[in-house]
Symmetry: C2
Subunit: 689 residues, 2 copies
């Protein structure tokens, strides 16, 4: 525990502690928790809760509360993992993950109480209580009940068994498969604490681009070792399973799910896993997409393919997550239409233990997309929304982009399928593609921690405001005296990335493979629908994808069809997503599409410059190490924002031949310069087939 006179926030910090920093509170001598009381002591989740409370309270208040099975002193903190609630909560029924907090009352020896119907609820309540204390200046004063909106709150690692991480910008995978199960890095416990503190209850350990060796017996034994560490923190492990594993791993001659040998193989494999991990979560499958095998190879639908694996899992209570991010061998008229086209007709055909996992937008985690038309469109299929915390398309680790605003935008969009239905009402869970790695600060940058945090908080309660989550995170991570300026930066950050990479609804404009930097000119990839030119359709006359003509717009509810069907009523931030328009088409600003593009690309650069300037004012308020890294990363971001702007504008201008509007600098270099840039060793490009 630090007791020096220097303000704790100004000591160098490396970010390892995340939002669980538990610094001594300035007013710590006005608070007291004398003991932590619980009449159960053998439950591992309760033990984890007690240990975390002791750790956090000792650090924040300056004295360590002892554990006691009964109240013997004033100012106790009671943990009650039972259905019997005291006082005001007597008639409450809580779901098994919820918790309730009763502030201290004089008549009860000044005790505080965390109640829940399960030890898991108590664990969440404990982290909640510590968070309130970290952020606040007093113990929480009001009775609070909190229950998660979704039962599935999940982190998806895209981690390969060789410790590379697909789309990972934070070092190696934290799973050291080589040393497992013999050596458990203590870091895994801190990972579990961090997840539990924000309500994450499920993690997929391996890459959706799955290697069938994930299901090898030795990998399962290693997975068990991880599961044993995560279990006391209420976290279940999942693995990715490759559809062709029966052939590749089981030496069968086919993986056709109609073949009894294949069905038996899955049953035996699942049974083997549950022998090791009785609470194993289940599988995540990417099938018939980007080279992954799947049921279509046997003329079967996704639903038919899912059945064999789901049936194997069902007796054990296991869940099958089946990804809707698909595209088959045929080049589609519109890639954006594919998930809906494949999965809408299958509604009702999946078993009960299958969740179809749908990306937030119809294409692929772009900085801005409309919501996926599947949300609200299926009645009998459980959906999970997949978002990407790792910033594959938003600047890797070195660009500051808070994604809470992006996810909030999607979650709170009305589907218009039913009255008052928002996208958030159409799903049973949220899965976030991990940005976690072995870098000391976990996420490759300090600000990317906020996206892990927001993922957990929004999966617990998707009605929360992104601003409020940012406020919490900054307060916990940097201290409450800098929340205003830093939250302001965060709230503008994603829109800046949209501006400098793809304004007005443009999308999928990045370089090939690693996706680092701009490549709007790319037109020579093996599949047409991998090329940026497929997505922007720009030529000398105009730009944008006409999704009215393509029919894709009909995947949305009538209200959206009307609004998005006409460029005049389409929100400008999605304009070129839905319409192909002449360069001269006039926008609300009075500027033409071309002029508006120049304006918005430039605005993105200016915003980064402004953010960088604002950050520089925090030099005395943020510890030197984190201050410096953020400052240096913002310098990179400014340089790369300019690169995106200039490369993109040079390309658009090469098509339309229009002059640059007055007051705006033309690109610094000719188009050929930008087209010649290569980054063969940019990180994250580790497909394993």
């Amino acid at each position: 525990m630090e007791t020096t006179a220097t303000p704790p926030s100004l000591k160098p910090e490396d970010g390892y502690e995340l939002w669980l920093r538990y610094r001594l509170l300035p007013s710590h001598d006005q608070f007291k928790i004398s003991q932590i009381v619980c009449n159960e002591s053998s439950d591992p989740l309760l033990s984890a809760a007690v240990a975390e409370l002791q750790r956090g309270l000792e650090a924040m208040l300056g004295h360590r509360p002892e554990f006691s099975p009964v109240v013997t002193q004033d100012h106790a903190l009671l943990l009650q993992p039972s259905q019997v609630y005291p006082g005001a909560l007597a008639h409450l029924t809580l779901n098994h993950e919820a918790f309730a907090y009763l502030p201290k009352r004089a008549e009860e020896r000044q005790s505080h109480t965390i109640s829940a119907s399960s030890s898991r609820g108590v664990l969440y309540g404990a982290f909640w209580f510590l968070r309130q204390l970290q952020m606040g200046t007093a113990f929480p004063q009001t009775l609070t009940v909190s229950a998660p909106s979704y039962s599935l709150r999940m982190v998806n690692h895209w981690d390969n068994l060789n410790r590379t991480v697909e789309r990972g910008y934070a070092g190696q995978s934290i799973w050291d498969w080589h040393k497992l199960p013999d050596y458990i890095d203590p870091r895994i416990i801190d990972y579990a604490r961090a997840n539990a503190s924000i309500g994450i209850n499920s993690v997929v350990l391996t890459n959706v681009n799955a290697n069938s060796m994930v299901l090898r017996s030795d990998t399962i034994v290693k997975t068990r070792a991880i599961a044993d560490v995560l279990r006391p923190y209420g976290i279940k492990v999942f693995l990715t399973s490759r559809f062709s594993a029966p052939e590749e791993l089981g030496n069968l001659t086919t993986s056709d799910p109609r073949v009894p040998d294949v069905q038996q193989w899955w049953c035996k494999k699942v049974s083997e896993i549950y022998d090791q991990i009785p609470d194993f979560g289940g599988f995540l499958v990417k099938a018939n997409s980007e080279g992954q095998p799947g049921p279509q190879s046997y003329g079967l639908s996704h639903a038919e393919g899912a059945r064999v694996i789901a049936d194997a899992l069902a007796p054990f209570g296991g869940v099958l997550l089946w990804r809707a991010f698909v595209y088959d061998d045929q080049i589609p008229v519109d890639r954006a239409a594919q998930a809906y086209a494949e999965f809408k007709p299958l509604d009702g055909l999946f078993q009960e233990n299958v969740f179809v996992q749908v990306k937030n937008g119809p294409i692929d985690f772009q900085p801005r997309e409309p919501f996926s038309p599947l949300f609200g469109a299926v009645d009998e299929t459980s959906l999970v929304m997949e978002v990407q915390a790792t910033k594959e398309y938003l600047g890797f680790a070195s660009h500051l982009a808070y994604l809470g605003t992006m996810w909030e935008e999607v979650l709170k969009t009305p589907t218009q399928q039913r009255p008052a239905e928002l996208v958030l009402h159409t799903i049973k869970g949220v899965a976030g593609v991990s940005n976690i790695g072995s870098d000391r600060n976990w996420c490759g940058s300090h600000f990317d921690q906020s996206n892990w945090y927001a993922l957990g908080r929004l999966s617990w309660d998707p009605t929360q405001e992104a601003r409020e989550i940012a406020n919490e995170w900054v307060s916990l991570t940097f201290g409450s005296d800098v929340t205003d300026p830093i939250v302001s930066i965060m709230m503008r950050s994603r829109e800046a990335v949209v501006d400098y990479t793809g304004p007005l609804g443009l999308t999928h404009l990045m370089a090939t493979g690693h996706h680092y930097g701009p490549g709007p000119w790319v037109n020579d990839l093996d599949r047409a629908d991998w090329n940026p030119t497929y997505f922007h359709r720009a030529n000398k006359d105009g730009i944008g994808f006409d999704r009215v003509a393509s029919g894709t717009i009909q995947q949305y509810a009538a209200g959206w069809q009307i609004l998005w069907g006409d460029p005049k009523t389409t929100p400008e931030n999605l304009l070129l997503w839905f319409h192909h328009l002449p360069w001269s088409y006039e926008l609300k600003s009075g500027r033409s599409v071309w002029e508006e593009l120049v304006y918005r690309y430039s605005r993105g650069v200016a915003e980064v410059k402004a953010i960088r300037q604002e950050w520089s004012h925090l030099t005395s308020k943020v510890d030197p190490d984190r201050f410096t890294q953020v400052a240096e990363f913002l310098k990179i971001q400014e340089k790369e924002a300019l690169w995106w702007r200039d490369a993109s504008l040079a390309y658009w201008q090469s098509l339309n031949g229009l002059p640059y509007p007055e007051g705006f600098d033309p690109p610094q270099m000719p188009l050929e310069y930008y087209q010649g840039i290569t980054h063969p060793f940019a990180p994250g490009n580790t497909h394993t087939g």
Copy 2:
């Protein structure tokens, strides 16, 4: 600074500080350095020395000495980077890296003095002074002069541009090429400090299995950023250059060094590098070996091939390191003979700025080899000894094996070429293949730090005893109260690995590719001389490689030929290296070769068990985090030692059909079990071609 009552060594430590922990000395109030005095202040190396002294002295003594250009107080520490030495040193001439220390004398206001002929010498003296203080209980009392034996003291990284590390067991490369030159990880400064503290003055940043993109202009700019950080610590950077770079990077039609375009390409490339990095060290080249291109593709010798690159470097003072680890397309009678066979005839044909870099043994960093016959055999060629700190063949990161003893064994072997000539007299430098990565503890395990340390200390003074170096390292790393038990463990550790992986001079018995675990049965690789069976020649009658018959023994001096030519006079630890002997051949112990093998394999396992037991007694003397990791790694080592023993014995026994000697357990499993083990994701196997 820690001022708690708990002994500092018992606070959890993660190993990041290496041997520069600078803990408050128990007797700190009996010491005083009032100020650090130097009349030069603009030299970056002196600034680095002053900063390190302030950091270390403040932490160890509890007060920070201020910098002053002149002595104004008693108890100053004088830094004198000039040729004019005070008092007892008046007539001394120091080489430019040496330093001298004068203990405090009453007549000089109680000042201590570090003198040198250069700021670099002062820097080394500063680290030396801090080390004495860390280890000791008082300021050094005697006049000390220290000069490095070799001018080249080098770390060779085998780091790829994508941050994988060939034979790396400590995470990713610490060079983040993607973010360079914009972002410099502060860790690079700590890396420089650690190297300077042990006298390392050169680092090769990239893998010898070179990618020609190492020489791309953008990589050079990134390299400059690293060079700028390392320069104040007296460290020069080198790169690996691929012989075919003129074609691959320069778009020439050939890389034939006789072609003027090729010569010009090298000149321009070298010139471009020196524009960025005026003190660039030079290149390391692996040519015509394991698929790397080289001059033999053009019918030229290594010397002829080296000429074009060396000539390009010469005007700038650059050095070319040319590796003698070669094997061409022909399968040799004896791979162990190749380096000598290729390079002995070239003696005198290399330019002055070429160093031929020779592995310590004739094959490949095996746990035990005789010294390479090139040492002492060439007169007009400068040699550098290459050793491997990363434990490719000694258990990766999880086995405890201190390599100081192994390197000492080679360095202090008499060549018998000239009277009193030891191997250490035949070289101009030492290059150690790095075990450094981005893991928090740098080396993947706490004990592997000792090999980095020993590399530096032995390159400074190869006459030092490995035990003394271990003593220093333990004292600095774990504290002086545990030196005896830990040094005892370290001193026995390498021999234990020899015993359980390849006793009696057996060699090259590991699994294919990743080299993890035993594979003595492997016999199906593309080249005969990649197979363990090629090296051990075991059959039902006997085992060992007859290097008398092969003629290889004639590469050594006559004295060695006599000694090693007869199994009766060959040291038993190299017996089967030089001789093929019947299984029944009787050894000094009275045991047959077969019985002795069983005995030694078992002894290796028993030694690991004993070491693990001894470590367990240190639980109260080593901080909990390092204690636990070492304990868990020793558990892995014991398991794997048993694996090595059992797999190897099962295989030898399958050949000789002999019974297991009484008192020794047979392998736990049948041979087929061991042959069926696969570890497709074992780390470190990242050849880039």
